[in-house]
């Protein structure tokens, strides 16, 4: 007994020495000059950056974080790219698919001079980095660039839906003009069968200008109901997020539960339940990637895109009450219960 404990103690001590000593050693080699990190946001800072800073602080990694924002406009990108070239930071950090593709550009680009391509970087909050053409694959990115992905995998999402109730027909109403949505529906198509689910695909009809028509949403939800859908799925779809209020109200009226794979429809509107990535934890994961690149001097190209192992399960208690489809006790014991926004 004592011996086993002694051995364990020894091991813990050894691990402590190894884990605490290495970064210090690496930092010391840099001659105490802090790492320069240049962050570009889409619309100001979020919880992600809080987690990012807290992790680096807790590891006592010296850094300077310069933060710029595109303020929802890609047109602001060239000025920031210019500034990055001038500052020559150790690492570039980009938030969201739009920011990332305008600052560091896609993998294949005809205008490499318009992007920062020779400085190591990481991205956060990019739903489908591979499909968006930003990197080659999640395992090996193919460039001086890696990141963290925030979406739970499709199978984890479907598993969650299935453990809430025995839903058989899942309907997805989506903006067929957005690549994120198309990629997402493709994933559902591949996985649904494995969960004994039938996928009902309902692309939103387009207006003459080629944009999806928001007026059609109520009719689409009714159509889903008529086709036997017992649950609606909301993916990372910015069109649906813009019209989330109508969408979720109509769903409640039709008595259909809604599952959301991102925070928006749960936080701002009345989706019934969903899996949420904790932004703060995601930021810490991003900082771990940065530590690997700057302190451990690993090549970003060899660093697989990191994914969180745990997600939060959010359930909107008001919607559950209104629809009357109750979560099983097992879920109640682990879920975070929220009320409808504004109620």
């Amino acid at each position: 007994m004592i011996l086993a404990q002694f051995a364990r103690l020894w091991l813990v001590l050894l691990l402590l020495i190894v884990s605490s000593g290495l970064p210090f050693a690496a930092v010391a080699q840099e001659g105490n000059r802090p790492f320069e990190i240049f962050a570009v946001m889409w619309r100001g800072e979020t919880d992600v950056e809080d987690g990012f800073r807290d992790y680096l602080d807790s590891r006592r990694i010296p850094y300077n974080l310069t933060v710029r924002s595109l303020d929802l406009d890609r047109g602001n990108a060239p000025g920031i790219v210019e500034e990055i070239r001038r500052v020559q930071p150790d690492l570039v950090y980009t938030w969201g698919t739009g920011t990332t593709s305008s600052i560091v550009g896609k993998l294949e680009t005809e205008t490499p001079e318009a992007h920062v391509r020779d400085i190591p970087g990481i991205f956060v909050m990019v739903a489908y980095p591979v499909d968006a053409g930003i990197i080659d694959s999640l395992e090996s990115t193919g460039r001086q660039f890696t990141g963290v992905t925030f979406l739970p995998s499709t199978s984890v999402q479907l598993k969650t839906i299935k453990s809430y109730g025995d839903f058989r027909n899942i309907a997805v109403i989506y903006d067929s003009t957005a690549s994120n949505s198309r990629i997402n529906v493709e994933g559902l198509r591949q996985e649904a069968g494995g969960f004994d689910m039938n996928l009902i695909e309902l692309p939103i009809p387009l207006l003459e200008n080629g944009k999806p028509d928001p007026e059609q949403l109520p009719a689409l939800i009714r159509s889903a109901k008529d086709q036997g859908a017992d649950i609606l799925y909301i993916g990372p779809d910015s069109f649906l997020f813009r019209h989330g209020k109508v969408y979720t109200s109509e769903a409640i009226r039709a008595g259909l539960p809604t599952f959301a794979s991102t925070q928006g429809p749960l936080k701002s509107f009345r989706a019934m339940f969903g899996l949420i990535t904790d932004y703060y934890t995601l930021g810490k994961l991003a900082a771990l990637q940065v530590e690997r690149i700057l302190v451990d001097e690993q090549d970003p190209e060899d660093l697989p895109v990191a994914r969180l192992a745990r997600y939060k399960l959010w359930i909107n208690i008001d919607v559950v009450r209104e629809i009357g489809i109750y979560p099983p006790m097992k879920m109640i014991s682990i879920a975070d219960f929220k009320t409808s926004p504004g109620s």
Binding site: M1, L3, A7, V320, P327, M329, K330, S333
Partner: protein, 714 residues
């Protein structure tokens, strides 16, 4: 291999040798052991009483914690989400998860205010009525009622809606089961320490008291016959050491006096002028000389066959400590990506250990003739200790296997050295006694090792148990190094002939040798290696048994062997023909395997596995020594061409193959057909081989007559 039981009858001789022929010694041992037993029993009693009074309240506290947390969650669902109690979803599943996490909680039930059981998990249907009828009308949280061997704790769900009451059931049986398990563990430790103490007392008393006394006795006896040349060749520093040196001093004084006397007589003789008188003096002198002078100085050494017993017991004990979990440990290390099935990888270290041990036993056997058993034992000790130590520090499957092989090397040397030591000391008169020390050591190790090892491993882990094995093996080596007499008698031995093609040809054309080796010995060793060493620990673990239970079940084998061996000897003595015991024993072991067919009748297969192990022990206890006798008859027959000892060693080789291939065969079968069918399959092999044995040996009368000549156990 010869690692195990050459199990002769435990005769009265053996009993006397074990418990001492001296009354004082017997009383001393009895007194010491009794005192030990009383002390341990008292301690155990206090400990268990404390446990009993502690466990129940703790169990209740845990049930209360679980109940309160569940009531909170159900209350939340009912009050906050407004789910009516009757419409709660997945409650049974939720309950069963909680039950799985809390083994000591027996059932969970949600009962409505009008005593309708809404959801229940873990309570037998037959007891539903008793639960309902024992429900009080108004309850406070933690209200305790007892019914049908359960303690029921009730927790009202605090709610504005009618939610009902949650019931958490704790089984009184659980407390009792835990208690009896602990009682058995304590008993195991008491019995093992008792046996070990007994061994050690016998050893030290033999080494330091009764041995020297006996030595003294023989010196005095020689003296009484006029031989004063006895010298103690013992270097000890205790009271006996002083006595010995005084005695040696006295003896050298005496012989010096005699020399002086002899010289004086010579002088007197030389001074005589009268030739006749001189001759007379010479004649008297010669007569005295003949009577009192001995050219061979008598070396008195404290050496008996029984002295090897404790070191040998210790090394067996060290090895057997891991018997109940060795395959489980191997399974932890077995790499998955080797393209080889895990089952075979688990069997491999056992097989290689046996192989290494067998090879080294062979080398050691030849070596013992030249350098003496003690030195061979000491050659074996370092690798054995290192091997055990290595497993404690092991990191990967490969070094695990390597360390096991190293242990096997040491074990083989030590084992054969033990046998050789006994052989060095046996005479025709004390052969049985000597052999019984050897077999006794093996059996006590087999009895004590597995259960104690299991109890220890459950406390400190598999690897750390090997550290204890290393210490025990080291003690074994140190005892031999410091306490056993290093004297090699240069005997005129016939140069050992190696088993060549000619010898093998002779033996392999001897029907009796072939039939006993291949139809009886190989299958039985195959069974022991495959089932007892490999399959049983894995299977019992898979069935969810605690480590200590696995240890006890494996101990059953040793226990049954110990019980069956003298019984078989007595039967053989009464009916004269021991040969028939061989197929009887084999038949019992084989038939035992068919018990797996009865598994569906039992709740789980643990019971049948235990019975199979027990029957294997009984069968092997019955058959091993008669089988060896049959081989000895073969040896006598080929005494001129092959030689008795070579015949026996050939037999050991052949049967060793069974022990080596057992784990591999069982592993291969396990992959394909699973546990129960593997046991059944091996059972079929045994039965088939026994049938062939019977058919060949007793098939035709004329044949039988030919085979039976001299086939009676001596």
């Amino acid at each position: 291999m010869s690692v195990a039981q050459e199990t002769p009858a435990i005769t009265e001789d053996a009993v006397v040798a074990r418990f001492g022929s001296r009354k004082i010694l017997g009383r001393l041992v009895l007194f010491a052991v009794m005192l030990l037993l009383v002390g341990q029993a008292t301690l155990a009693w206090f400990a268990l009483r404390g446990f009993e009074t502690e466990l129940k309240p703790q169990l209740n506290q845990k049930a209360i914690a679980v109940g309160e947390s569940l009531v909170d969650q159900i209350g939340f669902a009912v009050d906050q989400i407004d789910i009516p109690a009757r419409k709660l979803v997945g409650v049974e599943e939720f309950f069963s998860d909680v039950l799985a996490l809390n083994q000591d909680i027996e059932y969970l039930a949600l009962v409505s205010l009008d005593h309708e059981v809404l959801y229940v998990q873990g309570l037998p249907d037959s007891l539903m009525g008793s639960l309902q009828s024992s429900l009080p009308d108004v309850v406070t949280a933690g209200h305790e009622t007892e019914f049908e061997g359960y303690i029921d704790l009730a927790f009202p769900v605090v709610s504005e809606n009618d939610a009902g009451t949650l019931h958490v059931g704790v089984s009184v049986k659980y407390v009792r089961d835990r208690l009896s398990e602990i009682l058995l563990e304590v008993l195991t430790i008491i019995i093992v320490t008792w046996l070990v103490t007994l061994e050690f007392i016998m050893f030290f008393v033999g080494m330091r008291v009764s041995g020297p006394l006996r030595c003294f006795e023989s010196a005095l006896e020689e003296g009484a016959h006029g031989n004063f040349t006895g010298r103690f060749m013992v270097r000890v520093r205790d009271e006996f050491g002083i006595l010995f040196s005084r005695f040696n001093h006295l003896m050298s004084n005496l012989s010096q006096r005699y020399e002086d006397f002899s010289l004086e007589a010579q002088e007197i003789k030389n001074a005589q002028i009268d030739e006749k008188l001189a001759q007379k003096i010479q004649a008297i002198h010669d007569r005295i000389d003949k009577k009192f002078r001995s050219d061979h100085a008598l070396e008195l050494r404290v050496r008996t066959a029984a002295q090897i017993r404790v070191p040998l017991f210790l090394i067996f004990f060290a090895e057997e400590l891991s018997r109940s979990f060795l395959p489980l440990l191997a399974a932890q290390y077995a790499p998955q990506d080797l393209g080889m099935s895990t089952e075979l990888l688990i069997g491999l270290p056992i097989t290689l250990f046996m192989g290494a041990a067998m090879l080294c036993a062979l080398i050691g056997g030849g070596l013992a003739g030249r350098i003496g058993a003690r030195r061979v034992f000491l050659i074996g000790a370092p690798p054995a200790v290192l091997g055990f130590l290595g497993v404690f520090l092991t990191q990967t499957y490969y070094d695990f296997v390597l360390w096991r092989v190293l242990s096997g090397i040491g074990f083989g040397f030590m084992f054969i050295a033990g046998q050789a030591w006994v052989a060095e000391h046996v005479t025709v008169q004390n052969r049985a006694t000597g052999l019984s020390s050897f077999v006794g050591a093996v059996l006590v190790g087999m009895l004590c090792g597995p259960p104690l090892g299991a109890v220890i491993a459950a406390q400190i882990g598999f690897e750390a148990t090997f550290l204890i094995s290393a210490v025990i093996a080291a003690v074994s080596g140190l005892i031999v190094f410091y306490m056993l007499d290093d004297y090699v008698e240069r005997k005129e031995r016939p140069t050992p002939v190696i088993l060549g093609i000619r010898e093998w040809l002779i033996l392999l054309t001897d029907a009796r040798f072939v039939i006993v080796s291949f139809m009886i010995s190989i299958p039985s060793r195959l069974m022991r290696g495959g089932i007892l060493f490999f399959l049983v620990p894995l299977y019992l673990n898979e069935l969810g048994n605690r480590q200590s239970v696995i240890g006890w079940i494996i101990m059953l084998y040793g226990l049954a062997t110990v019980a069956a061996t003298p019984l078989a000897a007595r039967i053989a003595d009464r009916f004269g023909n021991a040969e028939q015991l061989v197929p009887l024993g084999a038949g019992i072991t084989g038939a035992g395997c068919f018990l797996v067919l009865l598994d569906p009748l039992f709740k789980d297969a643990t019971v049948s596995t235990a019975v199979i192990v027990l029957l294997m022990g009984v069968g092997h206890g019955i058959m091993f020594s008669p089988a060896l006798s049959m081989i000895k008859v073969v040896g006598e027959k080929h005494g001129d061409t092959v030689g008795q000892s070579l015949v026996i060693s050939a037999f050991r080789w052949v049967e060793g193959a069974g022990l080596i291939f057992g784990p591999i065969l069982a592993g291969a079968l396990l992959v394909v057909v699973g546990y129960a069918k593997t046991i059944l399959f091996i059972g079929c092999i045994i039965v088939a081989c026994t049938a062939i044995y019977l058919a060949v040996l007793y098939g035709g009368r004329r044949e039988a007559g030919r085979f039976r000549e001299g086939g009676v156990l001596r």
